[in-house]
């Protein structure tokens, strides 16, 4: 198992460090750590969650903007926005590859043997629609009689919430089952769709529907850490594209919106030293060319 997998597992366990629910503890963790956001997508209603979900929190902030202002609280979501923006400005989408529990889950699902399918590039823009519409505009603008909006993305889309919180809580709290209706049926259908898609395609949720990934991706071309491409060394063997967990053709678009900086292409796929990195414009040492046998990172 490579370093990234260990980091993903450690991050998943750290983000979900509350394991007392099945042993008579509170249904969800209620300690002070919940005031901090996780850098990856992780539902805060998951019985094991020790941190908050940044996307759920942002929606909540926008949904309760008007009532907050009415009582004199200027809560605009700057805390979460600042947290995510700081990470994005430093490393772009890197948390998607290294820290996101749902990313780890998708990576494992893709290892299930099956015919594999590409994802049409036209679907990539959907995640920006979800970010703008379901996370920002609808929660802030569609209000009930008391001035509260809804957490649209959590409520109508998020398969991570259904998997990490919905199913475990329905299993742990029988009283919730009586409240289940068409909404749960719809969310379970979305989850089922993504579960099937994860088996046949690389990280379909990250590439098409994750608003957190969409936010981080806005920084990919301007972040402190960036990958570099040496056109003179590239022979267009496409090894980077074949092994990329996001299906990015690095030689076509370095620091593409879907590049999650897993570094697999740089460390394992490229035999010709065409991929390197820079930190705020200062280039790191280039990767050496390799004359040895090609090491397939999928079969370490």
């Amino acid at each position: 198992m490579n370093l990234r997998r260990w980091v993903q597992i450690a991050a998943t366990l750290t983000t979900n460090a509350w394991w007392l629910t099945p042993f008579g503890g509170p249904v969800i963790y209620g300690g002070r750590l919940k005031a901090f956001c996780s850098p990856g997508l992780n539902c805060y209603s998951c019985p094991a969650a020790a941190l908050s979900c940044p996307i759920g929190t942002l929606q909540f902030m926008f949904a309760s903007l008007r009532p907050s202002l009415e009582v004199g609280k200027i809560h605009l979501g700057l805390y979460v926005l600042g947290f995510l923006g700081t990470i994005g400005a430093l490393v772009g989408r890197m948390p998607c590859a290294w820290l996101c529990p749902f990313g780890l889950f998708q990576g494992l699902m893709y290892r299930i043997p099956s015919p594999k399918l590409a994802i049409p590039r036209q679907l990539y823009f959907l995640k920006y629609v979800f970010l703008a519409l379901f996370v920002v505009l609808l929660p802030a603008l569609v209000l009930d009689q008391f001035g509260y909006g809804q957490t649209w993305y959590c409520k109508y889309v998020c398969p991570a919430g259904t998997l990490e919180a919905g199913l475990p809580l329905l299993a742990l709290k029988p009283s919730l089952r009586a409240m289940a209706g068409w909404l749960l049926a719809g969310k379970l259908s979305i989850l089922a769709l993504f579960l099937a898609w994860m088996v046949v395609s690389k990280r379909p949720f990250c590439r098409t529907s994750c608003p957190l990934g969409a936010f981080y991706s806005l920084f990919n071309r301007v972040s402190v850490l960036r990958l570099t491409y040496d056109e003179d060394k590239c022979v267009r063997c496409k090894a980077c594209e074949r092994h990329c967990p996001m299906g990015v053709a690095f030689y076509e678009a370095p620091n593409h919106q879907n590049c999650i900086r897993c570094l697999r292409c740089m460390l394992h796929s490229c035999r010709y030293g065409a991929i390197g990195y820079e930190i705020a414009g200062v280039r790191g040492p280039g990767m050496a060319e390799s004359d040895g046998p090609f090491k397939d990172p999928l079969r370490p």
Binding site: V27, I28, Y29, G30, R32, K34, A35, F36, C37, C43, Y44, S45, S52, G56, T57, F60, M61, S64, S68, K73, H75, L76, G77, L78, Y79, V80, L81, G82, F83, G85, T86, G88, A89, L90, Q150, T151, C154, K155, C158, G161, T162, A165, G166, L169, L170, L176, M179, A180, G181, L183, L184, K187, L188, F219, V222, S223, V224, A280, G281, V282
Partner: protein, 44 residues
Amino acid sequence: MPRRFPYVLLSVFLVLFVLGVTLGEPESVFEKAVAICLSCIGVG
């Protein structure tokens, strides 16, 4: 050549973060996150 823009961006978001903390937003995050979100689990 070193790029300055990433550091400008970083500074802006750090300021936003500190501003959010100053305005007491972590408390709101905490209050929301310790209750079961019925919307998140598909029953609310």
